[in-house]
Amino acid sequence: MTDLIKLTAADTAAAIKAGQVSAVEVTQAHLDRIDAVDNKVNAFLHVDTEGALAAARAVDAKRAAGTELGPLAGVPLALKDVFTTKGVPTTCGSKILEGWIPPYDATLTTRLKDADVVILGKTNMDEFAMGSSTENSAYGPTGNPWDLSRIPGGSGGGSAAALAAFEAPLAIGTDTGGSIRQPGAVTGTVGVKPTYGSVSRYGLVAFSSSLDQGGPCARTVLDAALLHEAIAGHDPLDSTSINAPVPAVVEAAKMRDIRGMRIGVVKEFAGEGYQAGVMQRFNESVELLRELGAEVVEVSCPSFTLALPAYYLIAPSEASSNLARFDAMRYGLRVGDDGSRSAEEVTALTREAGFGAEVKRRIILGTYALSSGYYDAYYGSAQKVRTLISRDFDAAFAGVDVLVSPTTPTTAFPIGERADDPMAMYLADLCTIPSNLAGNAAMSLPCGLAPEDNLPVGLQIIAPAMADDRLYRVGGAVEAALDDKWGHPLLEEAPAL
Protein backbone atom coordinates (compact mmCIF):
# COMPACT_ATOMS: atom_id res chain seq x y z
CA MET A 1 0.00 0.00 0.00
CA THR A 2 1.21 3.47 -0.78
CA ASP A 3 0.71 6.73 1.03
CA LEU A 4 -0.22 5.22 4.37
CA ILE A 5 -0.02 8.65 5.92
CA LYS A 6 -2.85 10.00 3.74
CA LEU A 7 -5.40 7.36 4.75
CA THR A 8 -8.24 8.18 7.12
CA ALA A 9 -8.23 6.49 10.53
CA ALA A 10 -11.25 4.38 9.53
CA ASP A 11 -9.55 3.15 6.34
CA THR A 12 -6.27 2.52 8.17
CA ALA A 13 -7.98 0.36 10.78
CA ALA A 14 -9.88 -1.53 8.06
CA ALA A 15 -6.67 -2.20 6.12
CA ILE A 16 -4.94 -3.49 9.26
CA LYS A 17 -7.93 -5.65 10.14
CA ALA A 18 -7.99 -7.13 6.62
CA GLY A 19 -4.27 -7.86 6.78
CA GLN A 20 -3.45 -5.54 3.84
CA VAL A 21 -0.92 -3.71 5.97
CA SER A 22 0.56 -4.26 9.42
CA ALA A 23 0.17 -1.87 12.33
CA VAL A 24 3.96 -1.69 12.52
CA GLU A 25 4.17 -0.54 8.88
CA VAL A 26 1.53 2.13 9.48
CA THR A 27 3.27 3.32 12.64
CA GLN A 28 6.70 3.35 10.97
CA ALA A 29 5.30 5.39 8.06
CA HIS A 30 4.08 8.04 10.50
CA LEU A 31 7.33 8.01 12.51
CA ASP A 32 9.21 8.52 9.22
CA ARG A 33 6.92 11.41 8.34
CA ILE A 34 7.55 12.99 11.75
CA ASP A 35 11.31 12.58 11.16
CA ALA A 36 10.98 14.24 7.78
CA VAL A 37 8.81 17.26 8.57
CA ASP A 38 8.59 17.93 12.30
CA ASN A 39 11.77 19.99 12.41
CA LYS A 40 9.75 22.51 10.36
CA VAL A 41 6.32 22.09 12.02
CA ASN A 42 7.34 21.50 15.68
CA ALA A 43 4.08 19.68 16.40
CA PHE A 44 5.65 17.15 18.78
CA LEU A 45 7.35 17.78 22.11
CA HIS A 46 8.16 14.11 22.59
CA VAL A 47 8.06 11.22 20.13
CA ASP A 48 7.75 7.83 21.84
CA THR A 49 9.23 5.71 19.02
CA GLU A 50 9.77 2.57 21.08
CA GLY A 51 6.42 2.73 22.85
CA ALA A 52 4.56 3.28 19.57
CA LEU A 53 6.28 0.42 17.79
CA ALA A 54 5.70 -1.89 20.78
CA ALA A 55 1.98 -1.00 20.77
CA ALA A 56 1.83 -1.63 17.01
CA ARG A 57 3.56 -5.00 17.38
CA ALA A 58 0.99 -5.95 20.04
CA VAL A 59 -1.83 -5.15 17.59
CA ASP A 60 -0.20 -7.26 14.88
CA ALA A 61 0.21 -10.14 17.35
CA LYS A 62 -3.47 -9.91 18.31
CA ARG A 63 -4.50 -10.02 14.67
CA ALA A 64 -2.23 -12.97 14.00
CA ALA A 65 -3.81 -14.77 16.96
CA GLY A 66 -7.28 -14.16 15.51
CA THR A 67 -8.39 -11.69 18.22
CA GLU A 68 -11.26 -9.44 17.14
CA LEU A 69 -9.82 -5.92 16.74
CA GLY A 70 -11.63 -2.69 17.65
CA PRO A 71 -12.55 0.03 15.11
CA LEU A 72 -9.33 2.00 15.70
CA ALA A 73 -6.86 -0.82 16.43
CA GLY A 74 -3.39 0.01 15.17
CA VAL A 75 -4.21 3.61 14.21
CA PRO A 76 -1.54 6.15 15.27
CA LEU A 77 -2.50 9.14 17.41
CA ALA A 78 -0.85 12.33 18.63
CA LEU A 79 -1.69 13.13 22.27
CA LYS A 80 -1.76 16.68 23.63
CA ASP A 81 0.89 17.00 26.32
CA VAL A 82 -1.72 17.95 28.93
CA PHE A 83 -2.71 14.29 29.58
CA THR A 84 -0.54 12.17 31.87
CA THR A 85 1.23 9.21 30.28
CA LYS A 86 2.87 6.65 32.53
CA GLY A 87 6.61 6.52 31.85
CA VAL A 88 6.41 9.13 29.08
CA PRO A 89 7.26 12.81 29.74
CA THR A 90 4.35 15.21 30.33
CA THR A 91 5.19 18.92 30.39
CA CYS A 92 1.98 20.80 29.46
CA GLY A 93 4.25 22.90 27.25
CA SER A 94 5.80 24.35 30.42
CA LYS A 95 9.27 24.74 31.84
CA ILE A 96 8.04 24.06 35.38
CA LEU A 97 7.19 20.45 34.43
CA GLU A 98 10.21 19.90 32.17
CA GLY A 99 11.41 16.32 32.50
CA TRP A 100 8.46 15.19 34.65
CA ILE A 101 7.55 11.55 34.01
CA PRO A 102 4.12 10.75 35.46
CA PRO A 103 3.76 7.53 37.47
CA TYR A 104 0.20 6.99 36.18
CA ASP A 105 -1.94 7.22 33.05
CA ALA A 106 -4.89 9.60 32.59
CA THR A 107 -8.19 7.73 32.09
CA LEU A 108 -8.21 8.99 28.50
CA THR A 109 -4.72 7.54 27.95
CA THR A 110 -5.87 4.20 29.39
CA ARG A 111 -8.92 4.15 27.11
CA LEU A 112 -6.78 4.83 24.04
CA LYS A 113 -4.48 1.97 24.99
CA ASP A 114 -7.47 -0.30 25.65
CA ALA A 115 -8.75 0.55 22.15
CA ASP A 116 -5.34 -0.52 20.73
CA VAL A 117 -4.68 3.00 19.44
CA VAL A 118 -0.95 3.61 18.91
CA ILE A 119 0.22 6.72 20.78
CA LEU A 120 3.03 8.30 18.73
CA GLY A 121 3.97 10.96 21.27
CA LYS A 122 2.99 14.19 22.97
CA THR A 123 2.10 17.36 21.10
CA ASN A 124 3.08 20.98 21.52
CA MET A 125 0.65 23.37 23.20
CA ASP A 126 0.36 26.74 24.83
CA GLU A 127 1.73 26.42 28.36
CA PHE A 128 -0.95 24.87 30.59
CA ALA A 129 -3.38 25.27 27.66
CA MET A 130 -3.46 29.04 28.05
CA GLY A 131 -3.46 30.66 24.63
CA SER A 132 -4.92 30.84 21.17
CA SER A 133 -1.80 30.41 19.06
CA THR A 134 0.68 27.83 20.53
CA GLU A 135 3.17 30.70 20.78
CA ASN A 136 3.15 30.44 24.58
CA SER A 137 4.84 27.03 24.63
CA ALA A 138 8.13 26.97 26.56
CA TYR A 139 9.46 24.84 23.69
CA GLY A 140 8.88 27.27 20.82
CA PRO A 141 5.85 27.83 18.59
CA THR A 142 4.28 25.29 16.23
CA GLY A 143 3.90 26.27 12.58
CA ASN A 144 0.66 26.00 10.61
CA PRO A 145 1.24 23.44 7.83
CA TRP A 146 -0.70 25.69 5.42
CA ASP A 147 1.85 28.46 5.99
CA LEU A 148 4.62 27.80 8.50
CA SER A 149 4.94 31.51 9.33
CA ARG A 150 1.41 31.49 10.73
CA ILE A 151 -0.07 30.16 13.97
CA PRO A 152 -1.77 26.72 14.00
CA GLY A 153 -4.26 27.94 16.60
CA GLY A 154 -4.09 27.29 20.28
CA SER A 155 -3.78 25.89 22.75
CA GLY A 156 -3.83 22.55 20.90
CA GLY A 157 -1.81 23.79 17.94
CA GLY A 158 0.51 20.78 18.02
CA SER A 159 -2.36 18.29 17.75
CA ALA A 160 -4.05 20.14 14.87
CA ALA A 161 -0.75 20.70 13.04
CA ALA A 162 0.16 17.00 13.38
CA LEU A 163 -3.08 16.14 11.54
CA ALA A 164 -2.67 18.77 8.83
CA ALA A 165 0.98 17.78 8.27
CA PHE A 166 -0.01 14.08 7.93
CA GLU A 167 2.11 13.16 10.94
CA ALA A 168 -0.89 11.39 12.53
CA PRO A 169 -4.45 10.59 11.38
CA LEU A 170 -5.87 11.17 14.87
CA ALA A 171 -5.09 13.49 17.76
CA ILE A 172 -6.44 14.48 21.14
CA GLY A 173 -6.96 18.03 22.35
CA THR A 174 -8.54 19.83 25.28
CA ASP A 175 -11.00 22.67 24.92
CA THR A 176 -11.31 25.21 27.76
CA GLY A 177 -12.30 28.21 25.63
CA GLY A 178 -11.95 26.79 22.13
CA SER A 179 -8.59 25.02 22.15
CA ILE A 180 -9.80 22.07 20.05
CA ARG A 181 -12.12 23.93 17.67
CA GLN A 182 -10.04 27.04 16.96
CA PRO A 183 -6.88 25.08 15.96
CA GLY A 184 -9.16 22.79 13.91
CA ALA A 185 -10.58 25.79 12.06
CA VAL A 186 -7.26 27.40 11.17
CA THR A 187 -5.59 24.14 10.05
CA GLY A 188 -8.49 22.76 7.98
CA THR A 189 -9.17 19.82 10.30
CA VAL A 190 -12.09 18.58 12.42
CA GLY A 191 -12.20 19.28 16.17
CA VAL A 192 -14.90 18.41 18.67
CA LYS A 193 -15.54 19.66 22.19
CA PRO A 194 -17.79 16.98 23.64
CA THR A 195 -20.40 17.78 26.28
CA TYR A 196 -18.67 18.83 29.52
CA GLY A 197 -18.32 15.77 31.75
CA SER A 198 -18.65 13.19 28.99
CA VAL A 199 -14.91 12.54 28.61
CA SER A 200 -13.00 11.97 31.87
CA ARG A 201 -10.72 14.70 33.18
CA TYR A 202 -8.82 12.31 35.47
CA GLY A 203 -5.14 12.79 34.62
CA LEU A 204 -5.81 15.92 32.55
CA VAL A 205 -3.61 18.61 34.11
CA ALA A 206 -6.22 21.14 35.22
CA PHE A 207 -6.32 24.71 33.89
CA SER A 208 -9.93 25.75 34.55
CA SER A 209 -11.78 22.81 36.05
CA SER A 210 -15.34 23.90 35.26
CA LEU A 211 -14.46 24.47 31.58
CA ASP A 212 -11.71 21.99 30.55
CA GLN A 213 -12.89 19.18 28.29
CA GLY A 214 -10.81 16.64 26.35
CA GLY A 215 -11.98 15.66 22.89
CA PRO A 216 -11.16 14.26 19.45
CA CYS A 217 -9.23 15.90 16.60
CA ALA A 218 -9.22 14.24 13.19
CA ARG A 219 -9.18 14.85 9.43
CA THR A 220 -12.73 13.58 8.87
CA VAL A 221 -15.99 13.72 10.81
CA LEU A 222 -16.25 9.90 10.92
CA ASP A 223 -12.71 9.56 12.30
CA ALA A 224 -13.56 12.09 15.02
CA ALA A 225 -16.70 10.08 15.86
CA LEU A 226 -14.75 6.81 16.14
CA LEU A 227 -12.27 8.48 18.47
CA HIS A 228 -15.11 10.13 20.42
CA GLU A 229 -16.66 6.73 21.14
CA ALA A 230 -13.28 5.33 22.21
CA ILE A 231 -12.64 8.02 24.84
CA ALA A 232 -16.09 9.01 26.15
CA GLY A 233 -18.08 7.43 28.96
CA HIS A 234 -18.45 7.49 32.72
CA ASP A 235 -15.33 7.39 34.91
CA PRO A 236 -15.68 6.84 38.66
CA LEU A 237 -12.25 8.50 39.12
CA ASP A 238 -13.68 11.85 37.97
CA SER A 239 -16.45 13.25 40.18
CA THR A 240 -17.65 15.53 37.36
CA SER A 241 -18.03 12.64 34.92
CA ILE A 242 -21.57 12.16 33.59
CA ASN A 243 -22.98 8.70 34.24
CA ALA A 244 -25.10 8.33 31.10
CA PRO A 245 -24.78 6.47 27.78
CA VAL A 246 -22.56 8.09 25.13
CA PRO A 247 -24.71 9.31 22.20
CA ALA A 248 -24.37 7.19 19.03
CA VAL A 249 -21.96 9.55 17.29
CA VAL A 250 -20.51 7.05 14.78
CA GLU A 251 -23.96 6.14 13.53
CA ALA A 252 -24.80 9.86 13.27
CA ALA A 253 -21.61 10.60 11.31
CA LYS A 254 -22.61 7.99 8.73
CA MET A 255 -26.21 9.24 8.24
CA ARG A 256 -25.40 12.13 5.89
CA ASP A 257 -29.01 13.27 5.91
CA ILE A 258 -30.17 16.47 7.58
CA ARG A 259 -33.53 16.84 5.89
CA GLY A 260 -36.03 18.34 8.33
CA MET A 261 -33.46 19.49 10.86
CA ARG A 262 -33.85 23.01 12.23
CA ILE A 263 -30.63 25.00 12.28
CA GLY A 264 -30.14 28.38 13.95
CA VAL A 265 -27.67 31.02 12.75
CA VAL A 266 -26.42 33.02 15.74
CA LYS A 267 -26.96 36.68 14.86
CA GLU A 268 -24.36 37.93 17.37
CA PHE A 269 -21.49 36.05 15.66
CA ALA A 270 -20.97 38.51 12.80
CA GLY A 271 -20.02 42.12 12.20
CA GLU A 272 -16.95 44.09 13.16
CA GLY A 273 -13.79 42.04 13.53
CA TYR A 274 -14.94 39.25 11.22
CA GLN A 275 -12.80 38.74 8.12
CA ALA A 276 -14.77 39.12 4.86
CA GLY A 277 -13.58 35.79 3.45
CA VAL A 278 -14.55 33.98 6.66
CA MET A 279 -18.07 35.38 6.48
CA GLN A 280 -18.29 34.55 2.76
CA ARG A 281 -17.46 30.87 3.35
CA PHE A 282 -19.76 30.76 6.37
CA ASN A 283 -22.70 32.23 4.41
CA GLU A 284 -22.10 29.68 1.63
CA SER A 285 -22.22 26.93 4.27
CA VAL A 286 -25.57 28.20 5.52
CA GLU A 287 -26.83 28.10 1.93
CA LEU A 288 -25.53 24.53 1.63
CA LEU A 289 -27.43 23.53 4.78
CA ARG A 290 -30.62 24.81 3.14
CA GLU A 291 -29.84 22.89 -0.07
CA LEU A 292 -29.37 19.75 2.01
CA GLY A 293 -32.91 20.10 3.29
CA ALA A 294 -32.46 21.80 6.65
CA GLU A 295 -34.64 24.67 7.78
CA VAL A 296 -32.40 27.62 8.64
CA VAL A 297 -33.56 30.39 10.97
CA GLU A 298 -31.84 33.37 12.58
CA VAL A 299 -31.46 33.15 16.34
CA SER A 300 -30.48 35.90 18.77
CA CYS A 301 -28.36 35.11 21.84
CA PRO A 302 -27.75 38.61 23.26
CA SER A 303 -25.64 37.48 26.24
CA PHE A 304 -23.04 35.88 23.96
CA THR A 305 -21.41 39.30 23.58
CA LEU A 306 -20.48 39.03 27.27
CA ALA A 307 -19.02 35.53 27.04
CA LEU A 308 -15.46 36.69 26.34
CA PRO A 309 -15.25 39.03 29.37
CA ALA A 310 -16.92 36.43 31.63
CA TYR A 311 -14.49 33.75 30.43
CA TYR A 312 -11.45 35.96 31.07
CA LEU A 313 -12.55 36.34 34.68
CA ILE A 314 -13.64 32.75 35.37
CA ALA A 315 -10.82 30.84 33.64
CA PRO A 316 -7.94 32.81 35.23
CA SER A 317 -9.66 32.59 38.63
CA GLU A 318 -9.81 28.82 38.45
CA ALA A 319 -6.29 28.71 36.98
CA SER A 320 -4.83 30.76 39.83
CA SER A 321 -6.17 28.14 42.22
CA ASN A 322 -5.29 25.06 40.12
CA LEU A 323 -1.73 26.21 39.46
CA ALA A 324 -1.04 26.62 43.19
CA ARG A 325 0.01 22.96 43.13
CA PHE A 326 3.21 23.95 41.32
CA ASP A 327 5.00 24.86 44.53
CA ALA A 328 8.42 23.23 43.92
CA MET A 329 7.88 20.67 46.68
CA ARG A 330 6.41 17.47 45.22
CA TYR A 331 7.23 17.55 41.51
CA GLY A 332 8.61 19.75 38.79
CA LEU A 333 11.25 22.43 38.94
CA ARG A 334 12.87 23.79 42.14
CA VAL A 335 14.88 27.03 42.06
CA GLY A 336 16.83 28.80 44.84
CA ASP A 337 17.09 25.89 47.30
CA ASP A 338 20.59 26.79 48.51
CA GLY A 339 19.92 26.34 52.22
CA SER A 340 19.49 30.04 52.92
CA ARG A 341 15.90 30.47 51.72
CA SER A 342 12.56 29.45 53.20
CA ALA A 343 10.10 27.15 51.43
CA GLU A 344 7.94 30.19 50.65
CA GLU A 345 10.84 32.02 48.98
CA VAL A 346 11.83 28.91 47.00
CA THR A 347 8.22 28.54 45.82
CA ALA A 348 8.09 32.16 44.63
CA LEU A 349 11.47 31.96 42.87
CA THR A 350 10.55 28.65 41.23
CA ARG A 351 7.19 29.91 39.97
CA GLU A 352 8.84 33.07 38.63
CA ALA A 353 11.41 31.03 36.73
CA GLY A 354 9.08 28.19 35.69
CA PHE A 355 5.99 30.00 34.40
CA GLY A 356 5.79 31.94 31.13
CA ALA A 357 4.31 35.40 30.62
CA GLU A 358 0.73 34.36 29.73
CA VAL A 359 0.46 32.01 32.71
CA LYS A 360 1.73 34.71 35.09
CA ARG A 361 -0.69 37.23 33.57
CA ARG A 362 -3.62 34.89 34.17
CA ILE A 363 -2.54 33.94 37.70
CA ILE A 364 -2.36 37.62 38.65
CA LEU A 365 -5.64 38.40 36.90
CA GLY A 366 -7.36 35.46 38.64
CA THR A 367 -5.96 36.41 42.02
CA TYR A 368 -7.27 39.94 41.47
CA ALA A 369 -10.75 38.77 40.39
CA LEU A 370 -11.02 36.58 43.48
CA SER A 371 -9.64 39.09 45.94
CA SER A 372 -11.71 40.61 48.71
CA GLY A 373 -13.49 43.76 47.57
CA TYR A 374 -13.52 42.79 43.89
CA TYR A 375 -15.02 39.32 44.12
CA ASP A 376 -18.66 40.38 43.62
CA ALA A 377 -17.89 42.88 40.88
CA TYR A 378 -15.77 40.51 38.81
CA TYR A 379 -15.93 36.80 39.59
CA GLY A 380 -19.49 36.90 41.02
CA SER A 381 -20.80 38.92 38.07
CA ALA A 382 -19.06 36.63 35.58
CA GLN A 383 -20.85 33.65 37.14
CA LYS A 384 -24.16 35.46 36.65
CA VAL A 385 -23.30 36.08 32.99
CA ARG A 386 -22.74 32.34 32.76
CA THR A 387 -26.36 31.85 33.83
CA LEU A 388 -27.54 34.33 31.18
CA ILE A 389 -25.57 32.51 28.48
CA SER A 390 -27.07 29.16 29.49
CA ARG A 391 -30.53 30.72 29.33
CA ASP A 392 -29.80 32.02 25.81
CA PHE A 393 -28.78 28.51 24.76
CA ASP A 394 -31.90 26.99 26.35
CA ALA A 395 -34.14 29.46 24.55
CA ALA A 396 -32.37 28.85 21.23
CA PHE A 397 -32.45 25.06 21.51
CA ALA A 398 -36.18 25.20 22.26
CA GLY A 399 -36.63 26.17 18.61
CA VAL A 400 -33.69 24.61 16.75
CA ASP A 401 -31.70 21.35 16.80
CA VAL A 402 -28.26 22.95 16.41
CA LEU A 403 -26.71 26.40 16.08
CA VAL A 404 -24.05 27.35 13.53
CA SER A 405 -21.46 30.13 13.32
CA PRO A 406 -17.97 30.74 12.00
CA THR A 407 -15.52 28.97 14.38
CA THR A 408 -13.09 31.88 14.40
CA PRO A 409 -13.49 35.51 13.30
CA THR A 410 -10.33 35.36 11.14
CA THR A 411 -8.05 32.84 9.47
CA ALA A 412 -4.62 31.99 10.95
CA PHE A 413 -2.65 35.13 11.78
CA PRO A 414 1.15 35.48 11.48
CA ILE A 415 3.24 34.20 14.41
CA GLY A 416 4.11 37.16 16.63
CA GLU A 417 1.38 39.47 15.34
CA ARG A 418 -0.72 39.45 18.54
CA ALA A 419 1.96 38.26 20.96
CA ASP A 420 2.05 41.45 23.02
CA ASP A 421 -1.62 42.36 22.74
CA PRO A 422 -3.57 39.99 25.01
CA MET A 423 -6.99 41.42 24.15
CA ALA A 424 -6.40 40.96 20.41
CA MET A 425 -5.24 37.39 21.07
CA TYR A 426 -8.28 36.64 23.23
CA LEU A 427 -10.61 37.61 20.35
CA ALA A 428 -9.61 34.41 18.52
CA ASP A 429 -11.92 32.50 20.90
CA LEU A 430 -14.89 34.86 20.53
CA CYS A 431 -17.27 32.30 18.96
CA THR A 432 -16.13 29.22 20.86
CA ILE A 433 -16.30 30.40 24.48
CA PRO A 434 -20.10 30.39 25.08
CA SER A 435 -20.21 26.57 24.75
CA ASN A 436 -17.50 26.15 27.38
CA LEU A 437 -19.34 28.39 29.82
CA ALA A 438 -22.61 26.47 29.31
CA GLY A 439 -20.99 23.01 29.01
CA ASN A 440 -22.70 21.97 25.77
CA ALA A 441 -21.15 20.23 22.75
CA ALA A 442 -19.59 21.86 19.68
CA MET A 443 -17.62 20.95 16.56
CA SER A 444 -15.52 22.77 13.99
CA LEU A 445 -15.09 21.41 10.49
CA PRO A 446 -13.47 22.88 7.36
CA CYS A 447 -15.80 24.83 5.08
CA GLY A 448 -13.35 26.20 2.51
CA LEU A 449 -10.49 28.64 2.07
CA ALA A 450 -10.85 32.38 2.56
CA PRO A 451 -10.41 33.95 -0.91
CA GLU A 452 -8.14 36.76 0.31
CA ASP A 453 -5.43 34.55 1.85
CA ASN A 454 -6.21 30.97 0.78
CA LEU A 455 -6.27 29.79 4.39
CA PRO A 456 -8.82 27.42 5.96
CA VAL A 457 -12.11 28.61 7.45
CA GLY A 458 -14.02 26.62 10.07
CA LEU A 459 -17.76 26.09 10.41
CA GLN A 460 -18.87 25.73 14.03
CA ILE A 461 -21.86 23.55 14.93
CA ILE A 462 -23.23 23.76 18.48
CA ALA A 463 -25.57 21.19 20.07
CA PRO A 464 -27.24 20.92 23.48
CA ALA A 465 -25.50 18.97 26.25
CA MET A 466 -25.54 15.19 25.65
CA ALA A 467 -26.78 15.68 22.09
CA ASP A 468 -23.28 15.35 20.62
CA ASP A 469 -24.68 13.04 17.92
CA ARG A 470 -26.37 16.06 16.27
CA LEU A 471 -22.93 17.60 15.64
CA TYR A 472 -21.85 14.50 13.78
CA ARG A 473 -25.08 14.22 11.82
CA VAL A 474 -24.79 17.79 10.53
CA GLY A 475 -20.98 17.64 10.22
CA GLY A 476 -21.04 14.37 8.27
CA ALA A 477 -23.60 15.71 5.79
CA VAL A 478 -21.78 19.03 5.26
CA GLU A 479 -18.41 17.30 4.86
CA ALA A 480 -19.76 14.84 2.27
CA ALA A 481 -21.40 17.63 0.26
CA LEU A 482 -18.28 19.82 0.33
CA ASP A 483 -15.94 16.95 -0.61
CA ASP A 484 -18.24 16.23 -3.58
CA LYS A 485 -18.20 19.89 -4.59
CA TRP A 486 -14.41 20.20 -4.34
CA GLY A 487 -13.74 16.72 -5.69
CA HIS A 488 -11.40 15.98 -2.76
CA PRO A 489 -10.92 16.78 0.94
CA LEU A 490 -9.79 20.35 1.65
CA LEU A 491 -6.44 19.25 3.09
CA GLU A 492 -5.32 18.06 -0.36
CA GLU A 493 -4.99 21.74 -1.24
CA ALA A 494 -2.40 22.33 1.49
CA PRO A 495 1.11 23.01 0.17
CA ALA A 496 3.64 20.16 0.33
CA LEU A 497 5.99 20.38 3.30
Binding site: S239, S320, S371, R386
Partner: protein
Amino acid sequence: MPGITREEVAHLARLSRLELQAEELDHLAEQLDVIIGAVARVSEVAGQDVPPTSHPLPLTNVMRADEVRPSLSPEQALSGAPAAEEQRFRVPQILGED
Protein backbone atom coordinates in the same frame (compact mmCIF):
# COMPACT_ATOMS: atom_id res chain seq x y z
CA MET B 1 -13.98 50.46 38.40
CA PRO B 2 -10.57 51.43 39.75
CA GLY B 3 -7.51 50.96 37.55
CA ILE B 4 -4.84 48.48 38.57
CA THR B 5 -1.58 49.96 39.88
CA ARG B 6 2.00 48.68 39.92
CA GLU B 7 1.81 48.37 43.72
CA GLU B 8 -1.37 46.35 43.44
CA VAL B 9 0.27 43.95 40.95
CA ALA B 10 3.21 43.57 43.37
CA HIS B 11 0.77 42.72 46.17
CA LEU B 12 -1.07 40.20 43.96
CA ALA B 13 2.29 38.66 42.99
CA ARG B 14 3.11 38.14 46.66
CA LEU B 15 -0.28 36.52 47.24
CA SER B 16 0.29 34.27 44.20
CA ARG B 17 3.86 33.36 45.24
CA LEU B 18 5.41 34.87 42.13
CA GLU B 19 8.72 36.72 42.58
CA LEU B 20 8.11 39.09 39.64
CA GLN B 21 10.94 41.21 38.21
CA ALA B 22 10.65 45.01 38.24
CA GLU B 23 10.08 45.24 34.47
CA GLU B 24 7.43 42.52 34.65
CA LEU B 25 5.54 44.55 37.26
CA ASP B 26 5.48 47.60 34.97
CA HIS B 27 4.46 45.61 31.93
CA LEU B 28 1.77 43.60 33.74
CA ALA B 29 0.25 46.66 35.42
CA GLU B 30 -0.22 48.23 32.00
CA GLN B 31 -1.68 45.09 30.39
CA LEU B 32 -3.92 44.15 33.30
CA ASP B 33 -5.35 47.63 33.34
CA VAL B 34 -6.47 47.15 29.72
CA ILE B 35 -7.81 43.63 30.39
CA ILE B 36 -9.69 44.65 33.53
CA GLY B 37 -11.17 47.60 31.64
CA ALA B 38 -12.38 45.26 28.90
CA VAL B 39 -13.90 42.64 31.19
CA ALA B 40 -15.44 44.99 33.75
CA ARG B 41 -18.69 45.31 31.81
CA VAL B 42 -19.85 41.95 33.17
CA SER B 43 -20.80 43.81 36.34
CA GLU B 44 -23.17 46.11 34.47
CA VAL B 45 -25.61 43.48 33.24
CA ALA B 46 -26.19 40.86 35.87
CA GLY B 47 -28.73 42.01 38.42
CA GLN B 48 -29.61 40.69 41.85
CA ASP B 49 -32.28 38.44 40.36
CA VAL B 50 -29.79 36.38 38.31
CA PRO B 51 -28.39 33.41 40.24
CA PRO B 52 -24.69 32.67 39.61
CA THR B 53 -23.64 29.47 37.80
CA SER B 54 -20.33 28.17 39.09
CA HIS B 55 -20.32 24.92 37.16
CA PRO B 56 -22.14 23.45 34.13
CA LEU B 57 -23.12 20.33 36.11
CA PRO B 58 -25.04 20.10 39.36
CA LEU B 59 -22.26 18.80 41.60
CA THR B 60 -22.70 16.47 44.54
CA ASN B 61 -20.13 15.11 46.92
CA VAL B 62 -18.95 11.67 45.89
CA MET B 63 -18.12 9.27 48.73
CA ARG B 64 -16.39 5.93 48.47
CA ALA B 65 -16.09 3.03 50.84
CA ASP B 66 -13.14 3.34 53.22
CA GLU B 67 -11.26 0.27 52.11
CA VAL B 68 -7.63 -0.55 51.39
CA ARG B 69 -6.84 -0.70 47.68
CA PRO B 70 -3.72 -0.49 45.53
CA SER B 71 -2.14 2.92 45.08
CA LEU B 72 1.21 4.36 44.04
CA SER B 73 4.24 2.99 45.85
CA PRO B 74 6.34 5.50 47.85
CA GLU B 75 9.01 5.31 45.14
CA GLN B 76 6.46 6.11 42.43
CA ALA B 77 4.94 8.97 44.43
CA LEU B 78 8.38 10.47 45.07
CA SER B 79 9.66 9.86 41.54
CA GLY B 80 8.95 13.40 40.34
CA ALA B 81 10.06 15.22 43.49
CA PRO B 82 12.97 17.67 43.16
CA ALA B 83 14.40 16.23 46.41
CA ALA B 84 13.51 13.23 48.58
CA GLU B 85 14.97 11.70 51.71
CA GLU B 86 13.99 8.62 53.73
CA GLN B 87 10.85 8.06 51.63
CA ARG B 88 9.69 11.63 52.19
CA PHE B 89 9.60 14.84 50.16
CA ARG B 90 12.56 16.97 51.25
CA VAL B 91 11.52 20.63 51.40
CA PRO B 92 13.42 23.82 52.22
CA GLN B 93 13.15 25.27 55.71
CA ILE B 94 9.58 26.13 56.65
CA LEU B 95 9.96 27.53 60.19
CA GLY B 96 12.45 30.30 61.09
CA GLU B 97 15.46 29.88 63.40
CA ASP B 98 13.77 31.56 66.38
